[in-house]
């Protein structure tokens, strides 16, 4: 397990150094209840957010060129304030910038939902990381 150590605090924006030299920013937009309508909100602590990024980054597939996807074992864990069970961690355009991520899906849809690629869902299903009912809900865009 890679430790997440705070490297910078700029008001509500906290950056961690972690995961083989990666930097991770806990973006304040995703921890601001006033932005809940437009920005999904984490329901887990900042350090757990960073740890989740670390675990996801280590096991990352190449299915989505824009970033990496997290889902807990059979989507059991809720990580967002609107029942989100998946997260997307966006790869920075500039390699020196930190990564950041946000909960995805959930019951309060925000329009133009980002979805994991079909190939990744199939991979989760084949490895037993998710069951059929979870894979189907992701594909239908309801999870």
């Amino acid at each position: 397990m890679h430790a997440c150590a705070v490297s910078k605090v700029d008001g509500p924006a906290v950056t961690y150094s972690t995961c083989d030299g990666y930097h991770y920013l806990c973006h304040p937009h995703h921890r601001d209840p006033g932005r809940r309508v437009m920005k999904s909100q984490w329901a887990i602590e900042r350090k757990e957010e960073c740890t989740t990024f670390c675990e996801t980054r280590r096991m990352a597939s190449q299915d989505d060129p824009a970033g990496v996807w997290y889902i807990g074992q059979d989507a059991y864990v809720v990580i967002g304030q609107d029942q989100e069970r998946m997260a997307f961690f966006r790869e920075p355009v500039n390699p020196n910038d930190p990564w950041h991520g946000y909960p995805v899906g959930g019951t309060r849809a925000r329009g133009r939902k980002r979805m994991p690629p079909d190939s990744l869902i199939l991979s989760w299903l084949k490895t037993g990381h998710v069951s059929r009912h979870v894979a189907d809900k992701i594909r239908r865009g309801v999870l």
């Binding site: 309508v37 849809a109 239908r140 309801v142």
Partner: protein, 403 residues
Amino acid sequence: MRTVRVVIPGDWADGWMYKETIILWDRSGHLFEVKQSDLRHHIASVASPHEAVLCDYLLFRNDWKNSPAFESVMRLPQVRHALVATPPEEIEPFEPTLIRPIMREKLEGYLLDVEVYANRVFTSTTAGVFETRFNPDYPNDRSPLHRLSDTRAASIAARSGCLAVAGGDAGLLTKNIAFDEESSLDRKETSPLTIEDDYSERVQFASHHLLNYRGHDSPGFLRASVRKEPPAGRAKFETTVIEDFDRPLALDRPINQAIHSRSRVDVRDYDDESSSERELGSNHVVRGNSNYQLLVESEFMSQVVNVSAYHGRPVQVAPNVNYNASLDDVRLTQHALSVQGLASGFLLERFASSVVFTQSGASTLCAEPRIRLRTFPHSRRHNDCFLAVADDFVELVGFLDVE
């Protein structure tokens, strides 16, 4: 709540109850059917008489279940006791020979949604939207599979001579379904799809009108213009046909006003509400609808709001006071992943359970996760039951609201 369940074993992807047939899709995209008459005969041979009667009323003839005659008979204590007070029985294993293949081309892609309407089977998959004919009297007449669109649509709906397709970034698409284009599928000359809104995640009918779920707190409402057509073929009644739709109306603010004022509110034009106002959001989220009834969730509350668009009158929303959710009901109805319509209320797909919400309250009918749920709100015979797809079976679930 008294329930009945009939289990059809197999690796199914989806199903539909249409007229006297149960249509099933397997996971490789092939179609199968079970004749309801065969199934009823099988149930009568393996279940007790009162369980067989309940299956008839709660699964195969919901028009009987919702009739005054049934209400009247249920007032007899002996009848009520025989049908309701006895515990549900385990109906013996299903007879596999009742499942027959339907000769159709294999579907391409992963099945996302299905709709059977006017002897047509519409399917949306990750590869597009497809149409084929299906006449239950001649299930193997080898109708071709016609691709209507390449769009990946999470949701489709059909009613009143109209197919609606929620095509995501491709928009909300509609298409006329002409009842007389008997041979046009062969010639691939069906009517084109029209864009009604620029984005759509899910679409459902509310009477003849459309609700376009765009990812906002409330869906857009598209009022339909309709015409009546005389009965055609073996039909006994005139048919309502949708001609076109008005531009979408936003329901966010009127729903908030109706709930706060506890009164009927007119829905004004989309432009009256700026996008910045919508971004501020509301305390209420419309989870889904059952026909014209919208299930509205806010923190600690679940409410129902009716939307109406009568001829010559503005679109209106009004609280439905017949639904009075207790705290227990709220706990069961919150955080639904999807909502479908039943004659008596709503079927809610939750992460690990399935809940029915009626004017009597909320009840969990499946306590285990289900892959997919399917209701048939526009059917006469099957409008108050549902089909649930599990890992290795499909179950037909009927229920009776009893104290």
